[in-house]
Subunit: 349 residues, 2 copies
């Protein structure tokens, strides 16, 4: 059987989901986590990384993959201060390698990470999920001076956010590509030395929002990304849900192509229900509940002898669970079990 | 895709697992349940069946299969009173058919149904499960006048149990076969008329306990069973865990053989970890946690175009759940998702 390793995202001690419970999910190999108390741009101290790893190992799980080491906005903006932040990022890579980390997930989205317009949309069966409705987005965007996105409300002070949006005002996609190129040329050699694989996460959703540049959104951009530095350490987090909510992206084709090139180090498995007008809803992992062919995607991974890390991505909130939207225990655990079933079927000898 | 229908066992309004939660499990088709307030041997009234069905349908689920309609001990013992009980059983079949039921699960185990020696064995990961250890069984059996089996303590009054055990004292396996044959010849024609499939559950574990006869335990006995009345309505509940805890039973072979004959109407999917000395522990459904090749078993079902009902059988207790041993929500839901994943992989076009 191909040694894909199933992991579960955990947000540290503040996460309402206990590590002990994650370890009771059959077939769960480890955790993907991060240090959440380090200001963006600072070096991650080795002792804190080691302590996190120890906590996870004491619960019977592995920590070999980080999601995410965030990239400071000055790097994305190409500000002169970026060199210090890049130097810090290199040191973080070195410290993570010392602690035995193998893969680092990151993204290059300006200002906002993933974006949804509602985090608790009630479904007919009483569960709730994250959705993206353009009608809601228009309402949210009406007053750019008071942009309040679900899930990001507390990430920025109002004035800080305004300053950031202004800084990006004249930035084009090509500017962002130039910044990404500069960043990769500096960090990939360090990652190579440390035997760390960098795995960029695609933009979510994979199109521009609030006039901000977004560049990692389709086959063409993934091609361009890997061509910047030709290295095993310059790879992808292939997120089925992020790329898949654009019906123009053929996720199975992308997995086949980049899987054969050994460029996929981390697989995010999520299903999504594509509606009209570029609206979408996050569905359960089960293929029949959404628009993606989940077993088709896993078949493509199995055929490319995928031996990286995989995680069930966002789940709905079911069974009355309260917690972090998209990151409850229950529906993600169902997703992991479903994915492991498909995987077993496709990889058994 | 072959139209296997995944169902979840539910014990009625006393069950701590709400129907609403079962309906939130992706891919869940329906419920398998029973009337729990009818004395064994009495006719199940149509209005009560209809009410149960309505309750389940209001929760978004189907009720097309019953587990179990119990067989009165007088039928198994071959007592003269059996004819009245058989007549009642026929009426129950007719009433279930009127309510749209398609399959009835039953068993022919004397006195005790499934038997375990401990229902809450703690596993290293903090979950708990049902086990069968012969050392524990010997202790339980030392005083036959005070037989107290986990899970059955309250099923019988002490004197009632004594009388039953005495009644079976001289009964052989052949006596029990004669009683089963008499029963089947009376009820299968009625089931045929009503388009109901009878599905016998194998003995669990599939060997004799407390010197009681047990006859449905291996390939040979399943062959004999279906030969008694040659009818589509005379079929099997193939329980992987019950048959599979005897290492001499090749569950994949059994599914292939009886699946090709269209004799399997109900699939119970459970994994089991076989230890030395005929001891065993119920494991998670995931193949790697037990002794059975779960995807191999499902492949055999898929290859025989199985279109019956399937349920995840017993689960462990995980995530701090309290409830009915073996029948918690969480681990069974993980099992269902895992099985649906394997099924999708093997049956997609």
């Amino acid at each position: 059987m191909t040694e894909m390793k199933m992991v579960f995202r955990w947000f540290g001690h503040d996460d309402p989901v206990p590590l002990k419970y994650i370890n009771q999910i059959p077939g769960m190999y480890g955790i993907v986590s991060a240090l959440y108390d380090i200001p963006v741009g600072d070096v991650w101290p080795l002792d804190k990384i080691t302590k996190l790893k120890q906590t996870i190992e004491e619960a019977g799980l592995h920590l070999e993959i980080i999601e995410s080491v965030p990239v400071h906005e000055d790097i994305k903006l190409g500000h002169p201060t970026r060199d210090q932040y890049i130097s810090n990022y290199q040191d973080t890579i070195r410290n993570l390698a010392k602690a035995g980390i193998k893969v680092i997930c990151y993204n290059f989205m300006p200002v906002f990470d993933w974006t949804r317009t509602q985090l608790d949309k009630q479904l007919p069966d009483g569960s709730s999920t994250l959705v993206f409705y353009n009608e809601q987005l228009e309402k949210l965007s009406q007053d750019k001076n008071n942009l309040a996105l679900p899930g990001w409300d507390t990430s920025y002070q109002k004035q800080e956010l305004q300053a950031l949006l202004e800084a990006y005002q004249d930035k084009t996609d090509e500017d962002l590509w130039a910044s990404l190129s500069y960043f990769l040329k500096a960090i990939i050699p360090v990652a190579e030395e440390c035997d760390i694989k960098m795995a960029i996460h695609p933009d979510d959703p994979p199109w521009s929002l609030f006039d901000l540049p977004r560049i990692i959104k389709n086959e063409q951009s993934l091609d361009r990304l890997i061509s910047i530095v030709d290295s095993d350490s310059n790879g992808l987090t292939l997120c089925s849900g992020s790329l898949g909510c654009d019906a123009n992206n053929d996720v199975i084709k992308l997995v086949k192509k980049f899987g054969q090139k050994n460029k996929i180090h981390f697989a995010h498995m999520r299903n999504v229900k594509i509606l009209d007008n570029r609206d979408f809803e996050e569905s359960a992992h089960y293929s029949a509940t959404g628009s993606l062919d989940m077993s088709g995607i896993l078949k493509a991974y199995a055929d490319s002898n995928f031996s990286g890390y995989m995680r069930p991505d966002h789940g709905r909130m079911i069974w009355g669970e309260q917690g972090r939207a998209g990151y409850g225990l229950y529906d993600r655990a169902l997703g992991a079990s479903y994915l492991l079933g498909i995987w077993e079927a496709f990889t058994k000898e």
